[in-house]
């Protein structure tokens, strides 16, 4: 999909903010964003997935049952800088809407780019969770983000 894809396969250790980590396989191969669809998920206030739509299931490569209850960081790609996510959490925890371009890691190790918008779910004045809705990003925004994120790693 991307002209830079090499299909190289490498094993990486991904460290998460909560102190845990996992070793997984990453493949340099992009899976195209599904036309006309929105990829939707919801989490509790800690980032554990509580809802995933069909497009999310298909793009992530996981089964619905595997996703529910998992922390959203299972999609974390090693090419994403940590500051992108600290910015996300700071923004949504202060009750605001966050927009950003995210490279996501699929279960099979391939990747897909999205433009994500995350908002807090406020019920009777209380934040009960978060919703993320992703749309198809343009190639130019993907290139800009790739260049920027490399400098932040």
């Amino acid at each position: 999909m991307s002209e830079h894809d090499t299909n190289d396969v490498r094993d990486v250790v991904i460290k998460y903010n909560d102190g845990t980590s996992r070793t997984t396989t990453v493949v340099d191969r992009e899976v195209p964003y599904p036309e006309g669809k929105l990829i939707v998920s919801r989490t509790d206030t800690k980032g554990n997935i509580t809802h995933a739509n069909q497009a999310f299931v298909e793009m992530s490569g996981y089964m619905h049952e595997e996703l529910i209850g998992q922390n959203h960081y299972i999609l974390r790609h090693p090419d994403m800088p940590a500051v992108a996510f600290s910015g996300l959490w700071e923004t949504i925890q202060s009750g605001k809407k966050w927009h950003g371009y995210v490279k996501n890691l699929r279960k099979d190790g391939a990747y897909y780019w999205v433009k994500a918008t995350v908002i807090p779910n406020i019920r009777k004045g209380v934040v009960v969770g978060y919703t993320s809705v992703r749309r198809k990003p343009s190639r130019s925004k993907i290139s800009e983000s790739e260049a920027l994120y490399k400098t932040l790693l």
Partner: protein, 248 residues
């Protein structure tokens, strides 16, 4: 004082009489007089809704957000199997095969339907197109959008999928669909205002039961609907949160 009902202006003209039939049916169920007012313009309708003129609204998803979050309305039901999807189409003879083939400066023809316009602009973002580098022309109906595509004055036009599907075969055969949204969880809702909260449950029940009897079924047919299904408070909140992410 009779109650006031209004319906989002995005239904097909052939269903106008259906909404009047529905209004008569509603009055019998409620045992109260209801005045139905229809609009050509989304903006004019929204102003009157904001001014507190209505007790009952069949609303498009974007207006539902305002009704629930700002005006204290409660969504009771949604139409069965009728999600609001958006189509972007071009002339069948055009060399444009996908939204990415549209260039900055392109001429877009649209109606003033807020959902369709928002979703269509989101689908154009993938081609680096937005309000600043496209020329939008707002016209009165989807038929006029189609006419401008056939004439060649539009590079692309935006349609509510239901409205596109109701265009004649002849018109559709001269257009090419570039993209169709598949969002499936954004749809119209039937809502009641604060004055009617006490009767909300009763109204919800008879709307859900509508497709079970012959009379109700024929009213639904005349509106081009299959029936109504329950919309819980959390489902409504979920849809509104989702729409919120689509508005910048």
């Amino acid at each position: 004082m009779p109650l006031n009902l209004t319906v989002s202006p995005d239904f097909a003209p052939s269903h106008i009489s259906g909404w009047f039939i529905f209004n008569t049916w509603m009055q019998r169920q409620l045992g109260e007089g209801i005045h139905l007012e229809l609009y050509d313009s989304f903006d004019a309708q929204r102003e009157d809704i904001k001014a507190g003129k209505y007790d009952l609204v069949y609303a498009n998803p974007f207006d539902a957000s305002m009704l629930v979050r700002d005006l204290g309305f409660k969504a009771l039901v949604r139409p069965l199997a009728k999600a609001d999807e958006t189509i972007i189409a071009t002339n069948a003879d055009s060399s444009i095969r996908s939204v990415e083939d549209l260039d900055p400066g392109c001429q877009l023809y649209t109606t003033d339907d807020p959902d369709v316009n928002r979703i269509a602009m989101i689908m154009l973002e993938a081609a680096d197109l937005d309000e600043s580098n496209t020329q939008s022309h707002t016209v009165d109906s989807y038929v006029i959008v189609a006419r401008n595509i056939l004439k060649g004055s539009a590079d692309a036009g935006f349609f509510l999928k239901d409205a596109y599907d109701e265009l004649s075969d002849l018109i559709r055969s001269q257009m090419r669909v570039l993209i169709t949204s598949e969002i499936s969880v954004v749809h119209h809702t039937f809502l009641v205002g604060p004055k009617l909260q006490e009767r909300a449950e009763e109204i919800q029940k008879f709307l859900i039961a509508m497709s079970n009897d012959a009379k109700g079924k024929s009213v639904l047919d005349s509106m081009g609907l299959q029936g109504f299904e329950e919309m819980t408070e959390e489902e409504t909140e979920f849809m509104i949160d989702l729409i919120d992410t689509l508005i910048d």
